[in-house]
Symmetry: C3
Subunit: 263 residues, 3 copies
């Protein structure tokens, strides 16, 4: 029987993805990478999903690629690693398609490709027991999981270099101070806080969230004029949408908006 390495539960518009190799500190072997990708595709194809929560079982969030498995592949290790990285990457791209926000709940140690899974989320919630260690160049590798795309956007180029070349370890509070994560929550309250946040976001304006994420993701590549044009198109589409009308009405009626997240 194949080991279950990534679990999925979809309920009331919220998809909860759980890394489930706690005895291996949620290291991702090829099976886990492919399971993550499959789960992410399922989530992206489910039109009821309006928020995604990524979490992990056990003490570590994810320590990255499974080095024991990697070392056991001697014949064509490059190809094996390429498959692992590509599966994780495709999974991340699937989740980016979800019409709603991605929240990560980081309860412990994060390293290697685990970094990407934690920080590509739109809201990154940390326990004070969370810590970050890139660790790629320490073993002669360069990053995957989007770290070289995400870090300069989140912490600036100098701090990205310090994390990648000198493998500086970051505590949870430092990660927030540097802009890597959103906030630190007391360890015992993290699970509740993350679930409450994810449910709240699942009740938000999913299409507005997704269009905003899309614009943040292409912001740095666009010139000002191109980007302003994109903003005008998106706000006009939303103003005419069900959620845009409800949002404005609720504001004027001083009541809580009842968003559907729909187009």
């Amino acid at each position: 029987m194949t080991e279950v390495t990534v679990e999925l539960k979809i309920e009331d518009g919220l998809a909860v993805i759980t890394l489930a190799r706690p005895n291996n500190m949620n290291a991702v072997n090829l099976n886990a990478c492919e399971s993550f990708c499959k789960v992410a595709r399922t989530v992206s194809q489910n039109e009821t999903v309006r928020a995604v929560l990524i979490r992990a079982e056990g003490k570590a969030f994810c320590v990255g690629g499974d080095v024991m498995e990697m070392s056991s592949i001697t014949a064509d290790r490059g190809s094996h690693v390429h498959k692992m990285a590509t599966a994780i990457h495709e999974g991340m791209l699937y989740l980016k398609k979800v019409r709603g926000l991605i929240i990560s709940e980081v309860q412990g140690v994060v390293a290697g490709a685990g970094i990407g899974l934690a920080i590509f989320a739109d809201i990154v919630l940390l326990s004070e027991k969370a810590s970050f260690s890139l660790a790629y160049t320490a073993i002669g590798l360069s990053p995957d999981g989007g770290a070289t795309w995400l870090l300069p956007r989140l912490v600036g180029m100098r701090r990205a270099q310090t994390l990648l070349y000198e493998n500086r370890k970051l505590s949870a509070q430092e990660a927030v101070d540097w802009g890597l994560a959103t906030r630190v929550i007391p360890h015992d309250e993290l699970e509740d806080h993350a679930l409450t946040t994810a449910k709240k976001m699942a009740g938000g304006p999913g299409d507005a969230f997704s269009r905003t994420r899309g614009m943040l993701d292409c912001s740095l590549q666009n010139d000002f004029e191109q980007h302003l044009s994109l903003e005008a198109d998106n706000i006009a589409a939303l103003a005419a949408s069900q959620d845009g009308r409800e949002g404005l009405n609720a504001f004027l009626e001083k009541r809580r908006a009842n968003f559907k997240g729909s187009f």
Copy 2:
């Protein structure tokens, strides 16, 4: 008679643009958006202008689009909002053409599209009474006014997400600490400080300022080699210009430079 919603005064090379709907907290209706655009075009076409100061009357700087007007448009609200955003955007692009710096004087609350008008400036001066609230997703919309282009450049991606998805409100001091604004000035001194700064910049090397702004605006989209080539062309052109010669002479003669801002 049409309401005057945006005022313009040009004097001694300084264009002062004033948002003038204080009884509506300077919310911009379609008329105000179009007036801003018209005023900005006038400024961009006036070759004597060497600095622009954007300010506002009353207690609020600008609370964004006029939601009362928006809610009154029921037939083709998308098209109406598109016109509003496009007028503001064209105005911002006109001001970017000015051969000199753009300074904003933010004396109070800023929300929605007001954010763009405040923070697209080259120097952003705040009263301690200024505060920032994006508020778009709270009413089911995505940003306009350049917020999704500007925020990642100014405060990094994580803080941009916090401002846009959770509508975190920022105080004046937080806005400076995060990199959204340049500095906080005591409320009673802000008007004088802003005018003095704008006049000083109007006496600066306008072409050097504009070429520098142009390079900052395309910095993130360029690769290093392309960008270095652009820098070499610009510094060479300036070194041969009237202002470049005057700057060097004044430096060697240990006197204050008398810049003309000209090509």
Copy 3:
């Protein structure tokens, strides 16, 4: 006899480049710019080089272009300045090709083009006596040396504007707090610390370092999908390389890796 303005020593995989016009505060005249470019080309063509240390003689690191020389060129100053900037820029691009990290040791004042030479490095080490002053617009010029490419990536757009338009001077500690530099080292220990760091990096996984730098340098221009694909290709190539195998083996054997830096 031509003045020696830039010195080069290559030993044990470490190239040390020294700015050597201490009596001119290491201002770069055309000869120094061209010497830097020539030295950088030599370094880039030497396959034994696995790290570069950029340092300077005397009290100043580099105060930028030699204004005395610039003022003496009256006939075709634009062309002269273009040659200077282009030589510096070509030198920087040569050093970016080195299969290993670039470290700068900044013991004193930095201004103008000296900024680029100090901060384009992957690790920027400062004495508490270091200070930064852009100073271009003060003499009617726009930046060269990559400042308008580097500053928005390192300190964000608002602080870049403050440094460039208002010529705000930064102390060493501020430079680190803002993300311009990596860390401050007590002045008397800087030389040892920089040499030790550079030697350590020369013993690191040069190819992994270079591929990582290449990805950081194109990070902001790429979309997420393109960049993930690049990351997968690079980590796969490194996993199959000599250094990647050694890194993994050393990790599993809990010993220090013996990297060769080779392909």
